[in-house]
Symmetry: C2
Subunit: 285 residues, 2 copies
Amino acid sequence: METKPTEISSSKMFGGFNKRYKHYSPILGCNMTFHIYFPPASSTSNKVPVVYFLSGLSCTDENFIIKSGAQRAASIEGVALIVPDTSPRGLNVEGEADNWDFGIGAGFYLNATEEKWKNWRMYDYVVKELPKLLSENFRELDTSRASISGHSMGGHGALTIYLKNLEKYKSVSAFAPIANPMNCPWGQKAFTNYLGTNKADWEEYDATSLVAKYHDVSATILIDQGEDDKFLHDQLHPHKFEEACRGAGVPLLLRLQPGYDHSYFFIATFIDDHIKHHAQALRLL
Amino acid sequence: METKPTEISSSKMFGGFNKRYKHYSPILGCNMTFHIYFPPASSTSNKVPVVYFLSGLSCTDENFIIKSGAQRAASIEGVALIVPDTSPRGLNVEGEADNWDFGIGAGFYLNATEEKWKNWRMYDYVVKELPKLLSENFRELDTSRASISGHSMGGHGALTIYLKNLEKYKSVSAFAPIANPMNCPWGQKAFTNYLGTNKADWEEYDATSLVAKYHDVSATILIDQGEDDKFLHDQLHPHKFEEACRGAGVPLLLRLQPGYDHSYFFIATFIDDHIKHHAQALRLL
């Protein structure tokens, strides 16, 4: 049970390196993998800021690294990309692999309170364990300068984690986030199983609920949403979040992109804008 | 057995569309899939030139579309990308799936002469059937303006198909091509099984052999090769091809890229240069 990360692969890309690591996570109680893209500018004498990217349902730490093409802009802007996995794995909890939208690959970036899912603590893993692990083991990274982004379930993760930790992250963005999970089938299924039936507990992990409480947002929130996304109307509800931002005076740029779907082809098209958005916020320190 | 292509998926990317098609191929005797990326500029009143991309061992028509990020430059340059599969599939030839480097996913872009593999005619499929199919069914494409590229086994395919059809393609490029298959284990295994043991027949599908015969090359051949590619010394032999080009007076730009491996991360890093290389040749018509 080695908590120190071990490198398991390395590939050069745009002058920097995609590196994959394995480590034992005490918070989750299992081995986990994550990816870092180190831009060419990173070194122990030139620590670079970090952008976390949280992935969506059924993804691992590999999808974004393989499909987004984000490394191109990260190389140019001189920011590292940190890509965690989406849930604990290998715990053999009964039913953990029965659904693609719940259990394995579907941690929803929360701390579960129901006994059965007690290892599902992706919120603490992303907010606490991973940043500490990075700052202790990678002297090329300046984890005090951090921003956060994500897709779908990971967009939900990015928005909620950002709002609850405004002092930790300089900016946030999301692609097609689950923006109001309390009011969609994916979120209701996950929250009922992980958190129980008390809806007051759900509000702690719902971006649309949180924005009224945590409204001291300085950097504009950037969201891209494909208009041909088949999950837009039933699951994502970006307009609910937009309405809440307007009510709370939180600056939001919600871009509706005609013809785009929910896939990584959509992410790849607009990822440069997101990386630049974060690099600018990180440089303004 | 529908020879006309049927669209099976469509995703918007960089203003254009990735579309996947299925059709029955009379030449191969099975159903085949291929991808087209249509840049936003393409229409029936503005036909765009095409760049074929041939993939490597074990790939399908999906890998390049998902991993290369080539659509970004293709969108800017106004060229369509045509990505075929790498072999016939579903024929149930005995042993066809026993090896990742032979049979399914390993057509080597040749016309097999051994009876057992008589359906393996990827050369005729790419050079004859597919261009005809495209020109008959996609009025947004100008298939008379075509260039060709590929990776590894597909780099071998691109170089050999180009050299043997200089009138059909305006330019060629390759990533880590199998440049002298007669003299490497992958090529020897494939050629023995598909073509028999007469080495004179092998020369027809060996870029290093062909370049002496077909040397009327006008556009410089572009090859990128990662120096940390684990297949470089045993399988790829770009320096043999370089030597043959020098002997034949064929213009070659062989770029050795320090630190890069054989993966799509390497392709993604340099694909923009290749798309620009072809767009320039296609514009000079």
